[in-house]
Amino acid sequence: MELTALVFLPAAAAVLILLLPQRYAKISKWIALAAAIAALVLSVVLFFSFEHGAGYQFVERYSWIQIAGFDIQYALGVDGLSLPLVVLTTFLTVAAVLVSFRINLRERAYFASLLVLATSVLGVFTALDFLMFFLFWELELFPMFLLITIWGSGRRDYSATKFVLYTLAGSAFMLVGILTLASSAGTFDLEILASSVFGSTMIPLSVVFAFLFVGFAVKLPIVPLHTWLPDAHSDAPTAVSVMLAGVLLKMGGYGIIRTCITILPDQAKDFDIVFATIGALSVLYGAFVTFRQTDVKRLIAYSSVSHMGLVLLGLSGLGVTGLAGATYQMLAHGLITGMLFVVIGLMYDRTHTREISQLGGLARQMPLLATGLVFAGFASVGLPSLAGFIAEITIFLGAFQAFEWAVILAIFGAVLSAGYILWTLQRVVFGPPKSEWDSLTDQNQWWEHVPVLGLAALIVLLGVYPAIITDMLNPTLEFVVARLSI
């Protein structure tokens, strides 16, 4: 029951908000905050009551649809891989709600959409039935589309449509893969699929693997399937950028580990070189394009392409180290990029510009926000003692065992990221203060302090006490890797 409560609590709050009469619209943000905090508390309780081990825990299984010999289940559960991502999601949901406190356009629809988004992501991370996984995967598109088109900026209709179509195109491939596997094994159950040996299938298994991979890779994203991301980010409101970079991208990496690698280990071994190549390519390509960006949000979006390339590079190692590094990078990137978007969003609320050339010297007028940006920037650069470093070093070690050349290429990303981040800091917060920003205030509301400080605290925690995650992660990944070595 815990997981059902966790997954549907935000959606239930969304329904409640939608039922509010118009004159109570102002309290919708408080309902959203209460629901988000409740979900966070629940997920943290689960996190600490989880017993370190390989299998799923808090499992709920109900027969849902019986059709054509298939028993489609309502099945939820978490293991060492998904539980940290669940906590990341609930945590970022709270942050997203808080940074939305300024929203005053159609609040009820806004906060309801945000909460439905949280439910769909939580569903993806906890579903143990492949069809259910897919339904949650698709559900996410509705709130995202609304959030970008109604509360976005710039070419928001174009960006939202591009986002939806891109994901749908990937999902089409994924669905073919899911149906092929399910029809061969006679079940959608992810746990059974993970121990199945597939005989002859309609479509060769390597093609199934590729189809599933494409579906997830669009979300990750990888080069060259990434161009939806900068558009979506630059036109989305702050909270959506936080959720998008923070958790939506992670659904891609999670899906690859949970399904591609776990269900089709033999094919994964053939594809490891593809992971390494695309991973290293994404790291470098993303970094090069980042250097040319003039809009801060687009800049962070492209840096995400680069950083998510590391996830794929880690997966190429196909060992516990590489997979752990990839997972850690998902968590670290979620927090760090989430924080970057929060801080940039708060700056944008004040300056109403994201053009780097128009900003500058903000450290004088907004010392707290500037400190936040410098902190998150260095976290993004992979400074040791912060979360990103653990992820990077683990990914590099894991992948180096398999593909030395790819790692040697990818470590140049460490210099490139230092280059574009520090250059951005120099142009945005340092230099002579500009008089037009003199009248602006620094970060000054409690709902601004809390997400910034909270994210910073978690980034430090994951940087200095990584065992809190890795001890949970190791047994699960050892199970995955054991299947690879058969």
Binding site: V289, T321, P384, I390, I411, G431, A467, N474
Partner: protein
């Protein structure tokens, strides 16, 4: 049985582990308190907290030193597991031995003096608290680097040192030059860090350990050998090249002078820039075993010695003279390591820390009185600033290598080591020794002799530059600044005397798993010739800049192409920044990729959208609302699916 017992009969230092972690932890608390409370503590208190913390670590470091001396330079290692992932154990551990003990003393003693001095220098700065917070952060990072017992932890603190350096160089971030210099320092050193990272990955995957002692043992056992060993050594050295501002990554250090002068004294002269030398010394067995890696170290060191000394000759800014001098002196240390001179390198690191910190703080004192670093606007300060003058003079004599000051002993040893190993390297080092004396005394004569040229007026818009008084009437700095100068002078004079009886050397060599390859005896020939070289450098400076028998402008004209070359710093900045970073990287390569991204990758996406749209226009004809037609299509489709399924899966 640990290998080091084969070498000496040293015991294991009995120092309690808690003290070692306390050395690391005390400055962290100071940082957290000052940074966390910010405006809530009085300005001066933030300084006292930071100074108290660093003084406490100094006391503990002295305890450690005596403990290691008591154990005859033995080694103690305390390791704890930090996290385990897959095949890898990441450990947190402290290692204490002769080398660590010396580094602890250098770092904490210079840091304490610099922080005391800063109370005067930074007085009235709006960022006073922030300054002390960063200073404490730096202390922690540097102490962690020195204490680390494994390469991974060393790398962690290595990067944190880079962060504190960035924050302190860019301390006056409203100045575009300071913001740019901070960025440059971090990025350039990070290029070197790629090598260190690669070395880390190599040793981690090949040897499954990051422990320094384990790596040493693998080298001695011959397990770590050949190309892997050389690559590992070169990777380590690449990191050192970045941090210790060696050619070709030396370009960041002169720009780092944008930071407050006490920062330059502590970080960019005495401690952080010496971290690269420390790193190579720490992994010295690797370089002993790999002639190729050693050769690279020696030559990079020699080139750096020469470049630094030549550029220092033509600088007009007192602080930049010292910056290039630092580059050159760090080159000497690397050169020493490249010719088996482990003891000589560490010894020079030790003495250099005192006299170079002294010189930098002296230049800060001058700056306080004149509001400038431009030597063209100084002159005659020996009358108005007697303490600064005397201490600066002693520091310069020590740097020039005049008997019996500290620099004489350490530089002399490096020359002796080079003489035995490679005469060409010796030649470069000896010529540079002449140049060292020349550029330092050029600076002395321009700054302290002749007529005072009025300093610089305080610009209205820039209130953060430290200055009290009137530039036209220079005065001696306050006691909080001169007393640290006087204490450092003691080091600049006497630190070299530890060379007698090889006391210092035996102490730091006990940190090695094997006795050094060769012990170079004191040679009167080398000592006398290097003294003559130094004295002739001073004499040349006297002739040109004091007596003006040969006008400097004449020399400039005669040696015009060279002088221009030196003035333009051999064109490194131009090549790196204008040509490579701007033209090649940003305006060509990145632009090409970006254009490809928008005009090819994204264009394909948009085009496929358009194609679908056009196609849909055509298909709309069929969607005419006639339910009968829909029914027919539905039925045909269903039959087709059933047939396909049956063909694919025969019953």
């Amino acid at each position: 049985m640990p290998v080091y017992f084969l070498v000496t009969e040293a015991g294991v230092p009995s120092i309690s582990e808690g003290i070692l972690w306390a050395i690391l932890g005390i400055p962290v608390f100071a940082f957290l308190i000052i940074f966390g409370l910010r405006q809530r503590i009085p300005e001066l208190t933030s300084g006292y907290i930071s100074i108290g913390a660093i003084a406490a670590t100094l006391v503990l470091s002295i305890v450690v030193l005596f403990n290691v001396i008591g154990a005859d330079g033995g080694i103690a290692i305390h390791t704890h597991n930090w996290l385990s992932i897959g095949d890898f154990d990441f450990n947190l551990g402290v290692r204490v031995d002769g080398l660590t003990a010396i580094m602890l003393i250098v770092v904490t003693s210079v840091a304490t003096l610099v922080q005391i001095y800063s109370q005067g220098y930074m007085h009235g700065d709006p960022g006073y608290r922030r300054y002390y917070a960063y200073m404490s952060l730096f202390a922690t990072s540097m102490l962690g680097l020195v204490l680390a017992d494994n390469l991974l932890m060393l790398f962690v603190f290595w990067e944190l040192v880079g962060l504190s350096s960035y924050l302190l160089i860019g301390f006056w971030f409203h100045k575009p030059s300071a913001a740019a210099a901070a960025k440059k320092a971090f990025i350039v050193t990070r290029i070197g860090d790629l090598g260190l990272l690669a070395a880390l990955l190599l040793i981690g995957t090949r040897a499954s350990t990051f422990q320094i002692d384990a790596i040493h043992e693998l080298v001695l056992a011959g397990t770590l050998a050949g190309t892997t060993l050389t690559l590992f050594g070169l990777g380590i050295f690449a990191g050192a090249v970045g941090k210790s501002a060696q050619f070709p990554l030396h370009v960041w250090l002169p720009d780092a002078m944008e930071g407050p002068t006490p920062v330059s004294a502590l970080i960019h002269a005495a401690t952080m820039v010496a971290a690269g030398v420390y790193l190579v010394a720490r992994f010295f067995p690797i370089f002993e075993a790999s002639p190729d890696a050693r050769e690279v170290v020696a030559w990079v060191g020699a080139i750096t010695v020469a470049i630094g000394a030549l550029i220092a000759l033509v600088q007009t800014d007192l602080k930049r003279v010292l910056a290039y001098s630092t580059i050159s002196q760090l080159g000497y240390m690397m050169l020493a390591l490249g010719v088996f001179g482990y003891g000589a390198a560490v010894f020079h690191l030790f003495t250099h820390a005192f006299f170079k910190a002294l010189l930098f703080l002296g230049s800060g004192s001058v700056n306080h009185a004149t509001n400038t670093f431009d030597m063209g606007k100084m002159g005659g300060l020996r009358h108005t600033m007697p303490i600064t003058f005397i201490t600066f003079l002693i520091g310069s004599l020590s740097l020039a290598g005049i008997f019996p000051l500290a620099g004489f002993f350490s530089k002399d040893e490096i020359l002796a080591e080079a003489w035995i190993e490679n005469r060409t390297l010796y030649g470069i080092a000896a010529i540079a020794a002449f140049l060292t004396a020349l550029y330092m005394f050029r600076a002395i004569f321009l700054t302290f002799f002749g007529e005072y040229k009025g300093g610089e007026v305080v610009p209205e818009e820039d209130k953060n530059i430290h200055f009290d008084g009137i530039p036209s009437v220079p005065h001696e700095s306050s006691r909080v600044m001169t007393i640290p100068l006087l204490i450092l002078t003691i080091g600049a004079i006497g630190a070299g005397w530890l060379a007698f009886g090889r006391t210092f050397h035996e102490f730091v060599e006990a940190a090695l798993p094997e006795p050094p390859h060769h012990v170079v005896p004191f040679s009167y020939g080398i000592a006398i010739s290097s003294s003559v070289i130094a004295l002739s450098g001073i004499a040349t400076a006297w002739v040109i800049y004091q007596k003006k028998l040969i006008p400097a402008s004449e020399i400039y004209k005669t040696a015009f192409p060279f002088a221009r070359l030196f003035e333009h710093k051999f064109g490194f900045d131009w090549l790196y920044e204008k040509i490579f970073v701007t033209r090649v990287f940003q305006q060509s390569w990145n632009r090409l990729i970006e254009q490809f991204d928008t005009r090819v990758v994204d264009a394909v996406v948009n085009a496929s959208g358009t194609i679908v749209l056009v196609f849909a226009q055509g298909v709309r004809v069929v969607q005419n609302g006639q339910v009968q037609l829909y029914g027919v299509v539905l039925g045909v489709g269903l039959i087709a699916i059933v047939i396909i399924v049956f063909i694919a899966n025969p019953l």
